[in-house]
Amino acid sequence: MIAYRHKIFIFVFAFIFTFCINYLPGQTIFEDIPDSLLRSSHLIVLNEQYDFTIINDIKTRKDYKKDYLVLKKSDFTLDYLYIIFDKYTKIKKAKVEIYNKNNKRIKKINLSKFKKRLFVDNGTVSGDAGMRYVEIPDITPPYKIIFSYTVFKKGNTAFFPVWQPVNKEYESVISSRLRVFDNTKNNLRYKSINISSPQISKEKNTTIYEWEIKNFKYIKFEPFNDRTEDYFPMVLLAPNNFILEDYKSEMTNWESIGRFINKLNAKRNNFTEEQKKEIRNLISNDDDIYDKVKKIYNFLQQNTRYVSIQLGIGGWQPFESRYVHEKKYGDCKALTFYTKSMLAILGIKSYYTLVEAGKNTRDIAVDFPSLRFNHAILCVPISQDTVWLECTSGIAPFGYSGSFTDDRNVLVVDNSGGKLVKTHSYNSRENIKTVNIDIFPEFTTGNAAIHINTFLTGLAIEDNDFFSLAYQNKKNQRKWLLNILNLDNYNIKNFNIIPVSGDIIPKGHYDVDLYVKKIFLKAGTDYLFKPYVFNQTGFEPLVESKRISDIIIKRSFILEDTISITVPDNISLKKNVNYELNSEFGTYKISSFQHDNSIIFIRKVELIKGVYPPSKYEKFKTFINTILKKDNHKFFFTSG
């Protein structure tokens, strides 16, 4: 029996003890973190738990919690934490807690206090899709955030999560875990990338899959490789059977996904008789198939407007063709389907195609069928060729989609279902920038009148968005030129921007007349000039000595320059140059010569698309750094 006074003592002691626990001197948020992770990480995930539950055929659930430390603020530091909701997804609960570096909690926000923002859809605020979010105050790092939430999804099981516990540079992870609870009979497919296979266990009727990473040290991207799956662990998840928009389907192979799309698109081609007549009148019977398709595409571009409704949020079904014809607008699905329907009226076969679009997007995992696409285009087979039509652009040349959809696997949907096809990969002859410059120097001042003629072929029309420039006014065009010319202290006298030609490998052209001050630098009695700086590669010097990831040259290209300087009789080039560098990555060539009163400089750079192993790094480094060094070559003009 403990005496009463002893009980009080124990009680008081216990109270003081627990009180002190919360205020232990020296306790910070850095406890137990290895130094190697602390040193250069911008962010450290202390503990992340992602639980994805497939409750039944139509319902799933996500329980998420993440504890992380922000050590250094960068461009990627989030200003706010958010959870997206839509007509299928409801947020059940959520909480954000912020701790300062002394591990004192300075903020706690529950779901009811989260702010709300609705997604604006073509200027209309859509009632059911948006996000709940919390703004993070401007605290000096280090600080800790604990973010947790639960969402339920009903009526849409087509999109299972992609788990990427880390996908940015300078982010480390102490512990992160994904668990999938499958209550259905074997409805889960998965693909583990840069991580070992999951631990699978069974508990009554539930199959549990578990992946975990521990002590992942931050990564710093290496130049010439931005493929995150070369660096980071990732798990792709997808169902075998799914429901979406009241449609039930399978996702086990690409063919079945194609069949699902056919289901969605069925009966949407419903032109009225009058509309059909109108479409038939657009072409003449003498036209060959190529011309017919071109005329329909032209009609599409002139008469419709693209309106951005993201795939997945606005629904997966395209607008009915009758509707698009009347309203004259649609999103990528609607416009693509509309074009397909118009061609069908003329008896021309074409295929609705799903694509993961973007200039720097990774290709889809071909061995993992899923609905991970963000765009639709049209595939039109004409004779032995395939023409890919980008139906959302009012200015794209016929058959050109460029870096947005090039060189990747896309899902072409035909009558029997879907199949993967690779889109066109532009070779170096289809990506050329040619610059011809005529210079008339005044050696007394070092100034010069310059005429620049630039020709762009194929992908090169996307150079600095030249593509859309011809459709802008003179003022914007002049602004564009002022920004992209790699010169200082000059003024533009005259310029011409010619619209891009309408071919599958389009061509673009512009020329400029300028007057530049001090382009020839006085060096004693000579003049200094750098001719190879007008058509830049954009490379940066390679400085690292080690290499971990593959070297990727994404697209082949050619740069060609011819610079011609008209000089008086007494001026000549002190020394000529004739240099050539050949390698498996490409070639580089510069030369110069003088012919009477003309001094000519020639340059050609060609890079070949490819993926090269890290063992080739030293050779590649020499190749790139030599180009950069030689591009800076200085010539001396001497008098007498």
């Binding site: 605020v125 200082d488 950069l628």
Partner: protein, 645 residues
């Protein structure tokens, strides 16, 4: 003959009448025509993404039973969207005074807005919904109503109108004629009773400024008062474009400002804060302002740690302590209603709360400190002739140690003496018995010194560069250093060389930042060696490309650059030195000097640049452009080493 003349006359009128300043009659609200919807470009500024068709306001003084004397601002605005990029102009913000006492809050009434589209030849109207408007707090006493129009497309016309009723007659909203999109017509009619004397001034560029109509009477509460007023309009107003080194947008736009100069006491009502003297007195007597000066007792706990420290060390310590224990919640204020102890416990606060904790703590330890209230740069410069308390929503501490003045801000991790860029704006007001204005740019120094030591050895050029940054140059570099941005920038800057080593010497939260770089480059042609003494200096290319400029040029800081290049002349070579240059502008606020000397076996090139003020007017632009042209071309000069035969 006469008939055709009449037809011609009417056609002529019709043709000119769509919007012409002389015949401009404000169109009825919601009466949007097919012509307006069919318009596909701006007739006086090609390539516009959107334009204001008209912006009309009516401003007059009135009387309401409960509120008393109020001003009444009625606005009707019509906007046309030409392109997809122009859709963002279909949303807007209206800033207003929001006080805890409802009587003193501005009241936005009857806000109505519609989007119009041409659909199959017919005019289709969409009304703004409740969800499309929301209110954000900016500070303790100001907020803004943001709205986003629904169903906006290329070609849409937005028609909106609203009224503001406000008792803040000393804070009449500035009327902006100009915008960042072209404005066809902007017109304001104002009418004030003689007993309220307003000084009315136009600022910025004029675009067909017309002053019509003189008003002489005003009916208030069934009484007719002698009054004054005008109808002022501008038309075909070019948009203010974004330029390099642009300071305050609002401070550059063409506008009409109203300042209440005098109230005739005969009518027996007072208006507070009408002079700076009055404002100063009121602030000093306010428990949430002057009353906070003696509340530094919470800092007593640091007494032990501060023992033996110098004044400056004490001030730095206190500043750091408050910075480390508080986070700014993005709200602006000059007041504080919480004790320092409570603030530190909560861990977050607004600018007033955090900096009052700083000021009172500094004063507690006998460090000479004053509160300075500031008008943030984005809203323009303060008006020394007319006092409007609502202009000032930021508070910093002015610390005086050994006769030197420092500004301090504890809302973020600023080193001692460094403050937020938005606060480095013209003048701040020091609230004190002996109140005064203080130049906020006086300590806005950006100093960069670099020593480039070159050596030629064997077949290589070696270079050791020592860079020292001070004040704001250090502060900005330190920010970039933390994000790995600085290292990448330096790699780019010296991409012509092989970088052997980069070493940073940083002390956390200090106003000095040093680093050193070692470079080397193989000599291509040893007959002529070309050396750029200053590799990509701070002003590398001329930022002023255009011929003219409408807005001020604001460099943010007083910039001082001091570069020195030295080279030991290698045997067997002669030197060709670059030319000396010295330029200065008329009032000597810009100075540049470039000098190359050859003393025996050493070559020294020196470059100095100094700007003594942060803001240059558009009138000074041509001189500025020429100055920079000369400077950037001179900086590109080279040192030539020629091998002796």
């Amino acid at each position: 003959m006469r008939f055709s003349f009449i037809i011609f006359f009417f056609v002529f009128l019709l043709y000119n009448s769509l919007y012409s300043q002389d015949n401009f009659k404000e169109k009825k609200f919601r009466d949007v025509s097919i012509e307006e919807l069919q318009m596909d470009s701006c007739d006086f500024y090609s390539g516009a993404d959107a334009m204001v068709l008209f912006n009309v306001a009516n401003l007059y003084i009135d009387y309401e039973n409960v509120k008393g004397v109020v001003y009444h601002l009625y606005v009707h605005k019509r906007i046309k969207i030409f392109s997809n990029s122009g859709k963002s102009f279909a949303s807007g913000k209206i800033k207003f005074i929001k006080s805890k006492a409802k009587r003193f809050s501005d009241n936005i009434r009857k806000f109505k807005a519609y989007t119009y589209n041409l659909v199959e030849g017919k005019v289709e109207e969409t009304k703004i919904g409740k969800k499309d408007k929301f209110i954000n707090d900016i500070s303790d006493y100001s907020a803004e109503m943001s709205f986003a129009m629904p169903n906006v497309q290329k070609g849409s016309v937005i028609d909106l109108k609203y009224e503001i009723i406000s008792t803040n007659i000393g804070n009449l909203k500035t009327w902006f004629f100009q915008d960042v999109i072209p404005v066809k017509i902007s017109k304001i009619s104002y009418r004030f009773p003689n007993f309220l004397k307003y000084k009315i001034n136009t600022y910025g560029n004029f675009y067909s400024l017309k002053s019509k109509k003189d008003y002489h009477t005003l009916n208030i509460n069934n009484h007719t008062f002698d009054a004054y007023g005008k109808e002022i309009s501008m038309s075909n107003i070019l948009p203010l474009e974004k330029e390099k080194y642009m300071g305050s947008l609002l401070g550059s736009l063409s506008r009409l400002e109203f300042n209440l100069e005098y109230i005739d006491p005969y009518y027996g009502f007072k208006y507070n804060n009408s002079t700076y003297e009055k404002m100063n007195k009121n602030l000093l007597g306010d428990s949430m302002f002057g009353g906070r000066m003696k509340k530094g007792g919470f800092a007593k706990v640091w007494e032990k740690e501060l023992k033996g420290k110098s004044q400056i060390e004490k001030a730095e310590f206190i500043l750091k302590k408050i910075q480390n224990n508080t986070a700014w919640n993005n709200i602006f204020s000059i007041y504080s209603g919480v004790s320092g102890k409570k603030l530190m416990k909560k861990g977050e606060g607004n600018t007033g709360e955090i900096n009052w904790a700083l000021i009172s703590a500094l004063k507690y330890f006998d460090i000479e400190t004053y509160p300075v209230i500031i008008k943030r740069k984005k809203y323009g410069i303060p008006n020394p002739a007319f006092c409007n308390i609502f202009d000032y929503d930021y508070l910093v501490a002015l610390v005086v140690i050994d006769n030197k003045e420092y500004f301090c801000d504890a809302t973020s991790d600023f080193p001692f003496g460094i403050i937020r860029e938005q606060c480095i704006n013209d003048k701040g007001f020091v609230v004190d018995e002996n109140y005064r204005w203080i130049d906020m740019t006086k300590n806005a120094d950006f100093k960069q010194s670099a020593i480039y030591t070159f050596k030629i050895k064997g077949n290589y050029i070696f270079s050791d560069i020592l860079v020292q940054l001070k004040q704001y140059a250090a502060f900005e570099a330190y920010g970039k250093y933390n994000n790995e941005k600085l290292k990448n920038e330096l790699k780019k800057q010296f991409s012509d060389y092989e970088i052997e080593k980069i070493e940073f010497d940083t002390i956390n939260n200090s106003d000095i930042f040093k680093y050193s770089i070692s470079l080397k480059k193989e000599i291509e042609d040893d007959e002529i060696i070309v050396l750029e003494p200053f590799i990509k200096p701070y002003f590398d290319i001329n930022p002023f490309k255009k011929e003219e400029r409408i807005s001020n040029v604001d460099f943010k800081y007083n910039i001082t650059l001091n570069y020195m290049f030295n080279l030991e002349l290698p045997d067997g070579y002669t030197i060709e030195l670059p030319s000396n240059v010295r330029i200065e502008n008329e009032d000597k606020t810009l100075k540049y000097q470039y000098m190359a000397t050859n003393g025996g076996d050493k070559v020294v090139v020196m470059m100095k640049y100094k700007s003594a003020k942060t803001v240059f007017s558009p009138q000074e632009y041509t001189v500025l452009k020429t100055f920079f042209e000369k400077m950037t071309t001179t900086n590109k000069q080279v040192v030539l080493l020629k091998k002796l035969k």
